[in-house]
């Protein structure tokens, strides 16, 4: 079986193309990871060379191969406290800003989509309880959505492996998890505080159910969509948000390449996107 070695120039060409298509930027430090998957796809599509593969990747009308390659270049694993610098940004920057103009009689709403098996909404819940003083003054509603009803059920059960909770500080583990058959279950109060609901982000009627959200975490989801679906999903989230609300994407994603509806907001801990205050 031919071993397709990717040259420096081919890597640069591919990385630039892939970045434009997905917003995912691969630095040369990721060469091994990228080269290996590119070589696999070249072999599996029976392309004779990188050049032939790249041409079909670029011009295939259905975009099917680009999707396959994207899937192989993205890691689906999720775990507690993943990309937790955004949680730091949440408590240090986004929430204080939201609270400044928020009606104190109304709860602050945070929406996680995709919920996946619940690690992200529960991480946010713990982070708020442990790291945000404002939790003593404000009510916070946490909504977690996914298209997959099975995974929502798993999320509601809230039982996790040791590996999944490996990044949770020891004191938090003691406080918020109990040992059960099959792993560690998140505290009942937290589990019951999160509203799990099925939402297909591509469906306007689904997104209509969600309103007045102050902060959205939509991380590592849009990279799986094609360009138009990604734009429509971003437009749907725009409707779910209050003016001035924030959206956090995965660290490899960029709203600038998806939709012009949002403004970039650079906070010390993270770059996030804001629905302009004046956008009615």
């Amino acid at each position: 079986m031919a071993d397709h070695k990717i040259s420096d120039q081919e890597f640069d060409k591919f990385a630039e193309f892939f970045y434009r298509k997905t917003g995912i930027k691969f630095e040369p430090t990721k060469r091994y990871f990228v080269d290996k998957r590119l070589a696999e796809r070249i072999r599996e599509t029976q392309s004779e060379s990188f050049r032939q593969y790249f041409t079909s990747l670029r011009f295939q009308a259905s975009g099917e191969e680009l999707q396959r390659l994207t899937n192989s270049l993205t890691v689906n694993e999720t775990y507690f406290m993943r990309e937790d610098y955004q949680f730091r940004c949440l408590v240090d920057s986004m929430l204080p800003d939201v609270c400044e103009r928020h009606d104190p009689r109304k709860p602050i709403r945070i929406w996680c989509i995709p919920s996946s098996s619940g690690e992200e909404p529960y991480s946010i819940a713990m982070y708020l309880l442990e790291e945000w003083e404002g939790i003593n003054q404000w009510d916070v509603e946490l909504i977690a959505s996914d298209i997959d009803t099975q995974i929502l059920q798993t999320a509601q059960e809230g039982i996790y492996s040791e590996r999944s909770i490996r990044n949770v500080p020891a004191a938090w583990k003691r406080r918020y998890f109990k040992s059960v058959k099959g792993g560690h279950q998140i505290d009942d109060d937290i589990r019951h505080a999160v509203e799990f609901t099925q939402v297909n982000l591509s469906e306007a009627s689904d997104v209509r159910k969600i309103r007045n959200v102050d902060i959205i975490f939509c991380r590592n989801l849009l990279i799986y969509f094609d360009d138009l679906s990604r734009k429509i999903a971003a437009e749907h989230m725009f409707e779910a948000m209050s003016p001035g609300g924030y959206i956090c994407l995965g660290h490899t994603e960029s709203m600038g390449r998806i939709s012009p509806l949002y403004r970039v907001k650079k906070f010390p801990a993270a770059i996030v996107y804001q629905r302009p205050l004046e956008a009615k």
Binding site: I135, E141, I143, E195, T197, R211, N212
Partner: protein
């Protein structure tokens, strides 16, 4: 104060009743941009949606509503929608032109049949915008369209735009046309430079 289960005001358990098309058409003209945005989404299932959206696009000043109209037109993707988007290339409004170019990039199959016509438009600016559409259009004929431009178009700026793109997407099939272009514009330094660069890049691949 604490974490709370969300109230019915944030997550509705039952969907709103679907509006009829007359109501949606009326909402598209509402003073409230949010109502216009939802109408621009909902109208895709109504008869005559494309023309209504195109009419509204012409008058719409709110950029958020325009984005939704363009997404809906892209979703509809019919001949009328494509024709309407092409018409936007002649607009004096640069944002609208760019938005139309972006929208058309999502419609490779639908734009392909009219691409030759747009690339031969009497207005060189429209031809340049057509080349801009090719930049991210996922279609097998992109290189051939660009070759046709550099073979036939008499306007230097149109050719220069096409050459720049060929340097990125061209293959050996473009070399002869690039060489011929250099001869056709043998006193234009930019064409000499851009064509040489494109040939060099293609030869390195």
């Amino acid at each position: 104060m604490a974490l709370k289960k969300s109230s019915s005001s944030s997550v509705q358990s039952t969907p709103e009743e679907a509006k009829d098309c007359n109501q949606i058409r009326s909402d598209l003209l509402s003073d409230d941009p949010a109502e216009r945005r939802w109408a621009a989404r909902d109208i895709v299932n109504c008869p005559g949606a494309t023309l209504m959206l195109l009419d509204q696009l012409e008058d719409e000043t709110d950029l958020t509503v325009r984005q939704i109209i363009l997404s809906s037109l892209t979703r509809l993707g019919d001949a009328e929608a494509v024709e309407g988007l092409v018409a936007c290339l002649r607009s004096e409004d640069a944002s609208l032109r760019n938005e139309a170019i972006e929208a058309m990039k999502h419609l490779p199959k639908e734009v392909a049949p009219i691409m030759a016509t747009v690339l031969n438009d009497p207005d060189p600016d429209v031809r340049i915008f057509a080349v801009n559409i090719l930049e991210s259009l996922c279609h097998d004929d992109v290189e051939q369209w660009l070759i046709s431009v550099i073979q036939d178009d008499e306007h230097i700026n149109v050719c220069a735009t096409a050459v720049d793109l060929l340097g990125e997407v061209g293959s050996e099939a473009s070399i002869d046309a690039l060489t011929a272009l250099k001869q056709r514009f043998d006193e234009e330094p930019y064409i000499q430079f851009a064509a040489d660069l494109a040939i060099k890049r293609i030869s390195e691949d």
